[in-house]
Amino acid sequence: MEKLSIEGTPKTPTINFDFGSGVLEIKGRSIPENSIEFYKPLVETLEKYSSKPQANTDVNIQLEYFNTSSSKCILDVFKKLEAIHKNGNKITINWYYEQDDEDMLEAGEDYQAIISVPFKMIQVEE
C-alpha cells in the first residue's frame, strides 16, 4: 500500500498519509512562502488515492499556524476529499484547535461552510 510521509520543518507541517488505513494527518505549521510547491505531492497523492479509496477516510488537521497562501492549498486538498465523498465514500475531517484559539476554530468553520464533507471541531488542551 502506498504511503506519503513528509517531515515537518519550522515553516511546513508533518504530513502522513497511509492508503491502507485511510488516515491522512497534517500537523504543525504551514507558513511556506511557496505553498503550491509544498502541497503539490499531497494533492497528487490524493488524486491517486481517489481512484481506489478506503470506505472510511479520516483526516486529522492539527495546525498551529497557517498562512493565507497555505489556506488556498488546504482548500484544494479538501476539494479532492469532497470529490471522494461525493462518490459515496465516507470522509471525516477532524479539525483540531487549541482551547483559546478562536481564530483557528473560525478558520475551520470557514472551510466547513465551503466544503460538503462532515467536519468535527475538536478542542485540545494547550
Binding site: 507558513i31 493565507t68 482548500l75 470557514d110 461552510a113 465551503i114
Partner: protein
C-alpha cells in the same frame, strides 16, 4: 556623521523590539519569525495575543517578500524597489507592526481601493469576503491570492492604517501600520 543617537531615541520612544531595512529573503523571514517568537515567549505574552502577532507578522512579511518579485530588476530604481523596511514595537498595550516598501505609482489606486474596501467591512462581512476570495479567487503561481490583507484585518480586529507617499513620477512609498491590542 550619522546621528545614531537620534535613531536610538526614536526607536526607544516607540519601544521598537525589532527592525530591519533591506532586501527581504526567505531566510530573513525565517530568522525574524524565530527571533520574534522567542521574544514573545520571553515576555510571557498571552498565547492568544502571541498567536495573533505571529500570524499578522507572517502575512506582513510575506506580502513584502512576494512584492519583491514584482519589481523590475533592471529598473534604474531597482535597488530602491527591492528594499523594504519593517519594524515591530509595543506601546500602550498595543503591538504595532509597520512595513514600508516602494510600489509603482500605477499600482497605488488599485491597492488603495482594495484596502479601503477591506476597511469598510464589518467583522461578519470580512468573514464572508474572506470565504468568497478563498473559494473563488485566482491564485498566483506561488500561492498568494489576495487574502493577506483580509486575513490581517480579521486577525488584528482593527482597520488597516496606510499611507502612500509619492517619491518620483513612477514610484510611491507604501506604508502600512497594523495594530494588535494586548487584551
Amino acid at each position: 556623521m550619522l546621528d545614531i543617537y537620534d535613531f536610538y531615541d526614536k526607536m526607544e520612544r516607540n519601544n521598537i523590539m525589532l527592525s530591519f531595512k533591506g532586501d527581504v529573503t526567505s531566510e530573513l523571514l525565517t530568522s525574524i519569525l524565530q527571533i520574534m517568537e522567542s521574544k514573545l515567549d520571553n515576555m510571557q505574552e498571552e498565547p492568544k495575543v502571541k498567536r495573533k502577532v505571529y500570524n499578522v507578522l507572517v502575512e506582513c512579511l510575506q506580502n513584502l517578500y512576494h512584492h519583491m518579485d514584482e519589481i523590475d530588476q533592471n529598473d534604474k530604481v531597482a535597488e530602491k524597489g527591492r528594499a523594504a523596511i519593517f519594524m515591530i514595537g509595543r506601546v500602550d498595550n498595543q503591538y504595532n507592526i509597520i512595513t514600508g516598501n516602494y510600489v509603482k505609482s500605477d499600482n497605488v489606486n488599485p491597492l488603495k481601493g482594495r484596502i479601503d474596501t477591506i476597511n469598510s467591512l464589518s467583522k461578519e462581512e470580512l468573514k464572508e469576503y474572506y470565504k468568497t476570495v478563498l473559494n473563488n479567487g485566482e491564485m498566483s503561481q506561488k500561492g498568494g491570492g489576495g487574502l493577506g490583507f483580509i486575513d490581517i484585518a480579521r486577525k488584528s480586529g482593527e482597520k488597516l492604517a496606510y499611507n502612500f507617499l509619492p517619491v518620483d513620477d513612477r514610484y510611491s512609498f507604501f506604508s502600512l501600520n497594523i495594530k494588535i491590542a494586548q487584551n
